[in-house]
Subunit: 342 residues, 2 copies
DNA sequence: CGTTAGCACTCGACGTGTATGAGTGCTAAC
DNA sequence: GTTAGCACTCATACACGTCGAGTGCTAACG
């Protein structure tokens, strides 16, 4: 059976209503809606068909119908009607971002806040993959005998630091000049290409071989680790508790546990290169704890190559319209603000 | 009425039991306990006295008794019997800490993890006040025309960075040598004393007055702000949801909201200079949302003057014994690990 | 032939009534 | 001073009946 015009209309009405109320919706409710000129009985027949086709579920015999994941999929793919943000809203969001633009990390943090406030769901922002960032500056700072702090400033202004051991006998001035050389040689190289740059350096400078080797090791370890906890920012983690689907503490807990594991989040919110908004519904997330959550993601740019992810996680019955427009706007806004660091 | 020996014994038994079960405890339960050789009737008489004295509450006529906040206060002040951690446990905790000792921030982060795992409550660690840290290194890195990133490395290895505007015409080399001077002049000064050091500098170097002024402003703004979100680390925020007092979603939510506000946490976990473990019970926290939470804090050292706070937040009926010993141990362990950065 | 009114049926939500049991306070006996 | 006994209280659990929202089916209607 193919879905005809009327079935689309009814299905859309059901989803719209369910998104709003979280209550199973009955035939009378739909019938009363403006735009649907049929009696409850007719609607019932159509609903029965839609259920057979897998677009609706019935919690129990005498309850209304609830959209299935298949229905949401159809909804976001075909039925969605783009909604506009008011220019007032856009302005407000943009202002929030710019107010904090002194530091990259705080921009991202406030972006997470804006996202979760605007949508009332939970927002997640993942910083760009370290490997794609370009080195701008390298600095070795002595902290103790034979120990130094290596600081790497990237084109995103993001500062990465790590403690490394250094050969004996190097004083602050030595480290200073080594830093200078390192910066000169490595500037504008992406972090992931740093191995090659280093091996060239190693050939040249015999006496600092050990120091450089250690530095390289540290950088590579960081790249492998795929970033630390501060690379994943979560906003509005308690927002979801407002919704009836989380009135059960156990559900709430399993959801919140997911938010605690930054590694899981990083995987969940990784994307291919495209800039388009992407939506994963319920089980499409491959994580039992998120079986009735949807994840909507978009990308933001930082520099020429590197992109990070910003996204929303909410109940499957989320207001996709709103979320998509907010993400779409914020993806641009965030890219714009961050490009000023270039 | 004064509390005699027996009342102490009974009160302690009640608290111990309630901490374990979270259920109002009746006279029979106490009577059965080894160590208390009285019949339920006798216990009842004593309980009645204890209630009148304000140490016990009765949820309703035919329920058992529940310890009041006054009882907990007495408990932690007098009744507590120090418990020892097994050396096995100590070792495990210590190892966890050391495993991550490459970066200060990750040490603190993993300390929060260890604390919440060991206690099954929520842990909070507050980094030392910025003002008490000493400057080790200052570095200006060019990021764009007239813009530079100022990086300050402190004795904790903690890196603070901020974008500042610089006068026109300064190239990378200029910034390099300015950094060198700044580092030389400011090294070993505490951040809070930096204003004075700067004004001396300002008198000397006429041509960079503007740059230095901006840098000083940025530093002071940071000091005022009292640190950013990354200075407060929370571990095991969902742990408390395991306990029956949070089976109500609204309670859970209001608790979790507190954890989201880093400013509130910073205030809640600030301490005077002492290194002793301190306990605040229920309303002593001055925050309605935490009326049935207790907060236990200790200090850790970082360098000669500066201290940070580590603490646990849990239900008022928390296992104070265990929490105190864990905090006591971790306060030392953390100080030790961090002192290696000095 | 599609649409709709009518009707019997289902099932969760809610309120009421009753039994149960844990726990208390009091009194009298030990 | 301690304890056994007993009447009393009250939350909890369970059974039962009512109510109402919603369904599926059938027959009538245009």
């Amino acid at each position: 059976m193919q879905l005809d015009e009327r079935k689309y209309l009814i299905l859309q009405a059901i989803i719209d209503d369910y998104i709003l109320t979280a209550m199973p919706v009955g035939s009378r409710t739909i019938s009363r809606k403006s735009g649907v000129g049929f009696s409850p009985a007719t609607i019932r027949n159509e609903m029965s068909d839609l259920e057979e086709l897998g677009y609706l579920d019935q919690p129990h015999t005498s309850a209304g119908r609830v959209p299935s994941n298949k229905a949401y999929r159809l909804y976001v793919d075909h039925l969605i009607k783009g909604s506009k943000l008011t220019s007032d809203e856009r302005e407000r969001m943009h202002d929030h971002l710019v107010a904090r633009s002194k530091q990259v990390e705080s921009v991202i943090r406030s972006a997470a806040g804006v996202l979760s406030d605007a949508t009332k769901y939970t927002s997640v922002i993942v910083a760009p993959k370290l490997g794609t960032l370009r080195i701008r500056h390298v600095q070795l700072v002595p902290v103790a005998e034979r120990t130094a702090l290596m600081i790497i400033v990237t084109n995103a202004g993001i500062v990465k630091d790590a403690v490394i051991r250094v050969p004996e006998g190097l004083d602050a001035d030595d480290l200073y000049s080594i830093s200078r050389v390192l910066t000169q040689k490595l500037a504008d190289k992406p972090l992931e290409g740093v191995r090659q740059a280093f091996s060239e350096l190693l050939r040249g400078a015999e006496q600092n071989r050990k120091l450089l080797g250690e530095a390289l090791q540290v950088i590579e370890k960081r790249l492998e680790a795929g970033g630390d906890a501060s690379d994943v920012i979560v906003g509005g983690s308690t927002n979801l508790l407002e919704y009836p689907e989380y009135s059960d503490v156990n559900k709430a807990r399993s959801f919140l546990s997911v938010l605690e594991s930054k590694d899981t989040l990083r995987k969940l919110f990784s994307r291919d290169g495209s800039m388009e908004v992407s939506i994963r519904i319920g089980p499409e997330n491959q994580l039992p704890a998120l079986n009735d959550c949807s994840i909507v993601t978009a990308s933001y740019r930082l520099g020429d190559r590197s992109t990070g992810t910003l996204g929303i996680i909410g109940p499957t019955r989320m207001n996709y319209n709103r979320v998509i427009s907010v993400l779409d706007f914020m993806s641009r806004a965030l890219s714009d603000v961050l490009s000023e660091y270039q």
